[in-house]
């Protein structure tokens, strides 16, 4: 088993090296096959590991070698496969494999196909390090590695400067959060003397709740999670990250990398439950992120931007669940979200593929008949994410909502409102893009075509998963099927023992009401948006608050004004005044002063030998005279 967990890392690394190093030699036809094959092998290995971990109830610990060792610091390069990481392995390798296969079709004919697949395999490698690492430092390496791959893949089409800027923005904003993460890691070492995740959890469980060290640690770790998972205030990079190829958006910026923050918090659940202040902060930040990005998504017109804001909103929802102490709820939503959001992105990619990379939904319309398969798959994704039973989104959202209602009626209503926003923006997108009468652009475009099978089949698999994955965890109302929660309970048992759930149980009537009322509202919302968006209508001018939402609450502008511009001014000051004005002038004046003196002194050198001799004679006389009178 230990060997298998090692192979899991080696295969994608092998794929990256082979495709990356021999990218000029390898025929483009095979790069995608090799890359997908590697991930497929990983998927099989994951299944074996999953079976082993589930049946024997053990964790697989692989201690490869001592990575950092001096004084009393010893950090091994070690892998851990427990139930939580096995779940993440499934998400990363499963969704990753499907997206790799999809990319074979999507990236066909692109110049950098080999480069693309080598980056994708590198991403899988780093993501697996992140998931499998048994200490925080290795987790950080994986964390940075996926950030690097994200940067490389956002700027994949590097000839366009906008893409490069988006890549840089993502990298820099992640860096801000990672600083906090690093401080958190140092603080962990300072407090516990070890970085091993399970040892830290054991040592932390005897610490008093709410002590300062834990507060700093959790705040640091959470700030890393804020950056990586695109929460307020560091969320603006994710919509820009849509500049990358669509499979990248699906894999990195929807299904796997951005959920690393959720994974980190769930991994460190013991630390977090002992720090109630941080938990409340997570709850508040998650709530505001989900709310604000949900509102922004309603007025966006770029198909990928809508999905990006939707991702941020769902991530915020996961963080709400974490803040409420429902770690398995967050992980459940993470899993189902990976399926249907990847599906939505791939379907959006399929739409763009059909329309020559058109992303503006106002220039679509009527696609329902032109690309029926894509439409059907997209609709499945939209239904799943909106939380309509019996699709996966319903179950995962219901799990979080029930925790929210147990926490308090107000919290429950806010959470319900947030999840209803999903319905609004997803069905607006669906109706505008697929139902509305064809726009002129679509009419003029005669090459609208359904995507090839290599793209449709992965989407179909994801659609099946989006439909069926929810049944592993059904609401308490229907049956006592708690497969998912039971599966993860050994991971979170210590966290739940330390701080037992405080919420009161709801009566059956309230549970039915909290279930049925949102569903009714969802039905009404779908009807309204059908009437409003599916018919030919003059697009109304946006007014007041709508304009604010369409402009993303001016977050980018505010950051620009408050942070980017002052830093730019400061840099300019240092360049113009300090560097050019002071340092440069100092150095130059030494040079020019020497030149000036040289210019004067060289006049002495007349070249006249007689003159030299006179100088010599009189100098000797002067020296002798000087010696005489001394």
């Amino acid at each position: 088993m230990q060997f298998i967990s090692l192979l899991l890392l080696l295969f994608p690394l092998f794929g990256f090296l082979v495709i990356g190093l021999f990218s000029r030699q390898i025929n483009k036809k095979y790069a995608g096959v090799v890359a997908s094959g590697v991930v497929f092998v990983n998927l099989i290995l994951t299944s074996i590991l999953f079976w082993f971990v589930t049946t024997t109830n053990q964790t697989v610990e692989t201690d490869l070698f001592d990575w950092i060792k001096f004084a009393n610091i010893s950090i091994p390069f070690a892998l851990t496969v427990d139930r939580l990481s096995a779940l993440m392995l499934f998400v990363v390798n499963g969704v990753g494999f499907l997206i790799h296969v999809y990319s074979i079709g999507y990236m066909k004919g692109d110049d950098g196909e080999n480069r693309f697949f080598s980056y994708m395999n590198l991403f899988i490698f780093f993501m697996l390090i992140l998931v499998l690492s048994s200490n925080y430092l290795m987790l950080f390496i994986g964390w940075e590695g996926v950030g690097l791959c994200s940067y490389l893949l956002i700027g994949f089409w590097y000839k366009d400067h906008l893409n490069n800027n988006a890549a840089k923005k993502a990298f820099i904003m992640n860096r801000i959060g990672d600083l906090g993460f690093l401080i958190g890691i140092f603080m962990i070492f300072h407090t516990f003397g070890t970085l091993n995740i399970s040892e830290v959890a054991t040592k932390a469980s005897i610490m008093p709740s709410g002590c300062t060290a834990l507060l700093i640690i959790t705040l640091g770790l959470f700030s890393g999670a804020i950056g990586k998972s695109a929460q307020i205030p560091l969320f603006t990079w994710l919509p820009d990250a849509m500049a990358g190829p669509t499979p990248v958006s699906a894999l990195i910026h929807a299904a796997t990398m951005v959920t690393a923050g959720v994974y980190l918090v769930a991994r460190s659940s013991v630390l977090f439950v002992l720090s109630p202040v941080t938990m409340n902060l997570i709850l508040v930040i998650g709530m505001f992120t989900a709310l604000i990005s949900g509102l922004i998504a309603i007025y966006q017109n770029d198909i990928k931007k809508i999905l990006a804001y939707s991702t941020i909103s769902q991530l915020g929802f996961m963080f709400m669940a974490l803040g409420l102490g429902s770690f398995s709820g967050a992980m459940f939503h993470l899993t189902t979200h990976a399926f249907f959001k990847a599906l939505l992105f791939l379907a959006a990619g399929s739409v763009m593929h059909a329309l020559n990379q058109e992303q503006d939904i106002r220039k679509m319309g009527g696609l329902r008949k032109k690309i029926p398969f894509t439409f059907a798959l997209f609709a499945i994704g939209a239904i799943a994410i909106s939380g309509i039973p019996p699709f996966a989104g319903f179950f995962s959202k219901e799990m979080i909502l029930s925790v929210a209602y147990e926490h308090g009626m107000g919290m429950g209503i806010i959470a319900t409102f947030i999840s209803l926003l999903t319905t609004v923006y997803m069905f607006r997108l669906l109706f505008v893009a697929f139902y509305k009468p064809e726009s002129d652009a679509v009419k003029a475009n005669h090459s609208v075509h359904e995507s090839p099978l290599v793209m449709l089949i992965p989407m179909a698999v994801l659609a099946l998963l989006s439909m069926a994955a929810g049944f592993v965890q059904t609401p308490a109302l229907f049956s006592s099927n708690n497969l998912f929660e039971d599966y993860l309970s050994p991971i979170f048992v210590s966290a739940h023992q330390l701080v037992p759930a405080s919420g009161q149980n709801l009566s059956v009537l309230t549970e039915w009401l909290t279930l049925l009322i949102p569903l009714t509202i969802i039905a009404i919302l779908i009807y309204i948006s059908y009437m409003r968006f599916a018919k030919e209508r003059v697009i109304a001018e946006l007014s007041g608050i709508q304009k604010v939402m369409a402009n993303k609450f001016y977050f980018d502008e505010i950051y620009n004004f408050c942070i980017v511009k002052p830093i730019e001014k400061l840099s300019l000051f240092f360049r113009e005044t300090v560097d050019q004005g002071i340092i440069n002038r100092l150095i130059n004046s030494i040079g020019s002063g020497t030149l000036y003196i040289g210019g004067r002194v060289r006049l002495l050198q007349t070249g006249n030998v007689g003159f030299y001799l006179i100088i010599m004679a009189f100098s000797i006389i002067a020296i002798l005279f000087f010696n005489l009178i001394r």
């Binding site: 060289r602 050198q605 007349t606 070249g607 006249n608 030998v609 007689g610 001799l613 006179i614 004679a617």
Partner: protein, 109 residues
């Protein structure tokens, strides 16, 4: 030896010193004032020989032969110097058809 020394000592020492100073001064003025490189050489030789003469005189008066040994050394050095200097002069003359030292200010800067 003894007779030569006594003959030399018949002339007072101050005479030697005054004579050598005069020779040396003539040499210095010749070096400074002349523009002909050959004349400058001759002036330099004059200065050297005035020093030689003084050395020989002191040596005689003090009954110390090492001063005269020095004189021979100086002569050898002077001969070597003249050999090099004249060779340089020949080269200068070949390139510029003159031995006026002012021509050498071409080398400045």
């Amino acid at each position: 030896m003894g007779s030569t020394v006594t003959q030399l000592q018949m002339i007072p020492l101050s005479f030697y010193i005054i004579f050598c100073t005069a020779l040396f001064t003539i040499g210095v003025v010749g070096v400074l004032a002349k523009r002909n490189a050959l004349a400058i050489f001759m002036s330099v030789e004059l200065m050297l020989n005035s020093a030689n003469l003084l050395l020989a005189a002191f040596s005689a008066y003090r009954n110390d032969p090492s001063g005269q040994v020095f004189v021979f050394f100086i002569m050898v050095v002077a001969a070597a110097e003249v050999a090099i200097g004249l060779a340089l002069l020949v080269v200068v003359y070949r390139s510029s058809r003159t031995i006026d030292i002012n021509i050498l200010n071409r080398l400045k800067w």
